[in-house]
């Protein structure tokens, strides 16, 4: 499945979910198909921590649904994150594992054991129940509604089997924001949406 078309399809199913992307190609792809600069946090500077960041966000804002994207390169660095996610078991969190079997941000170098890694089986071994695997746009279109019914028990883990970025896709624009600008755009959006106070000084 083409990486960008996969993201374009998922973006069409988005309603009001907050999105956290990861180091690697997911930030480029999400920016390419959404140009969202308010309800998406492009956590480029974070090898393997995007879903932990999203878990903290989802814990703090249980009334919001949170989607977190992570490449399998990042996943290989910290698969134990699934133990923490299972322990937290946040019904408003969906973890999308974008499996292209390479380190996409570093010239598509292979991830270790790339031919045999079974990410859904890894998740099952850690006790996750709500696991989906999509290898085609057709499968996403057919089954996305099931995973999209968030706030069911347990957090959701989705494996997206995609092709690595082509040379042309590697040149897609990165989200054009410095870190503090992203923080304030996302945070102010969330403050407006929920009435919460992120940046105010505490007494």
């Amino acid at each position: 499945m083409n990486y960008i078309e996969c993201f374009r399809t998922i973006a069409r199913h988005r309603t009001d979910e907050l999105v956290v992307t990861s180091a690697g190609n997911s930030s480029q792809a999400w920016w390419e198909v959404t140009r969202d600069s308010d309800a998406s946090f492009y956590l480029d500077a974070s090898m393997s921590l995007s879903t932990m960041f999203a878990s903290g966000l989802a814990l703090a804002r249980p009334e919001q649904k949170v989607w977190a994207f992570m490449g399998d390169g990042a996943f290989c660095m910290n698969p134990g994150m699934l133990m923490v996610e299972r322990e937290m078991n946040l019904p408003n969190l969906t973890h999308f594992l974008v499996s292209n079997r390479v380190y996409g941000a570093t010239s598509n170098a292979s991830v270790p054991n790339f031919e045999k890694n079974d990410y859904a089986a890894t998740a099952r071994s850690m006790g996750l129940d709500r696991i989906f695997e999509f290898g085609s746009i057709k499968e996403i279109e057919r089954d996305f509604a099931a995973l999209h019914s968030a706030n069911l028990p347990g957090h959701t883990f989705v494996v997206l089997e995609v092709e690595p970025f082509s040379d042309a896709e590697q040149k897609l624009e990165q989200p054009p924001f410095d870190g503090p600008e992203l923080k304030y755009r996302f945070g102010r959006h969330l403050e407006r949406r929920t009435g919460c106070n992120i940046f105010g000084y505490r007494t």
Binding site: M47, M52, F53, G56, G187, L190
Partner: protein, 172 residues
């Protein structure tokens, strides 16, 4: 002033609750077991045991972006593994982070495998220009609130380092 290990656990928990901490992400260190047991039983907190210290940095940073106060609790050796996460997430995005770590390797710590922490922990913290405060006695526990608030003021991380005398009782 001295306190029992149990007293110190409660004193630290109360201080964290006072400054608005709701999430505590931790990895254990023997010196921290009483503190962790205390916050785990305390309904004012959501305690999350994490798989590695970097995960605590990610969790607490995300919680901040959802307006939830948090603290990452870890041993000195664990802190030495989170430099990447702190400099990438908390420095790049200017996200406040409050860390509590043990001051391993200082005089009084008889574990030889912590010699490296004694040699390098403070120098590593200095190398990334991260402010810290050392808490050595129960009277100094209010530094937790002060340091936590400082992270919010400067939009940067800060650590408090807890000594053996504080956590395990003073020894000669």
């Amino acid at each position: 002033m001295t306190g029992t290990k149990h007293d110190i656990g409660w004193k630290i928990a109360n201080e964290l609750a006072t400054c608005g901490v709701k999430l505590i992400a931790s990895l254990p260190d023997n010196w921290l077991i009483d503190v962790i047991d205390t916050v785990k039983r305390d309904e004012r907190f959501r305690h999350v045991p994490v798989n590695r210290e970097e995960s605590a940095i990610g969790l607490c940073s995300g919680a901040y972006m959802g307006a939830m106060g948090s603290a990452a609790l870890m041993g000195a050796s664990g802190f030495m593994t989170v430099i990447y996460a702190i400099t990438k997430i908390n420095y790049t995005y200017e996200i406040p982070l409050f860390v509590m770590a043990t001051l391993r390797g200082a005089a009084g710590d008889h574990h030889k495998h912590h010699i490296s922490n004694g040699l390098y922990l403070l120098r590593v913290i200095d190398a990334i220009n991260m402010p810290y405060a050392i808490i050595d006695t129960p009277d100094e526990v209010p530094l937790i609130s002060r340091s936590y608030r400082h992270t919010r003021t400067v939009s940067r991380p800060m650590a408090v380092l807890l000594t053996r005398d504080l956590l395990r009782g003073s020894q000669r």
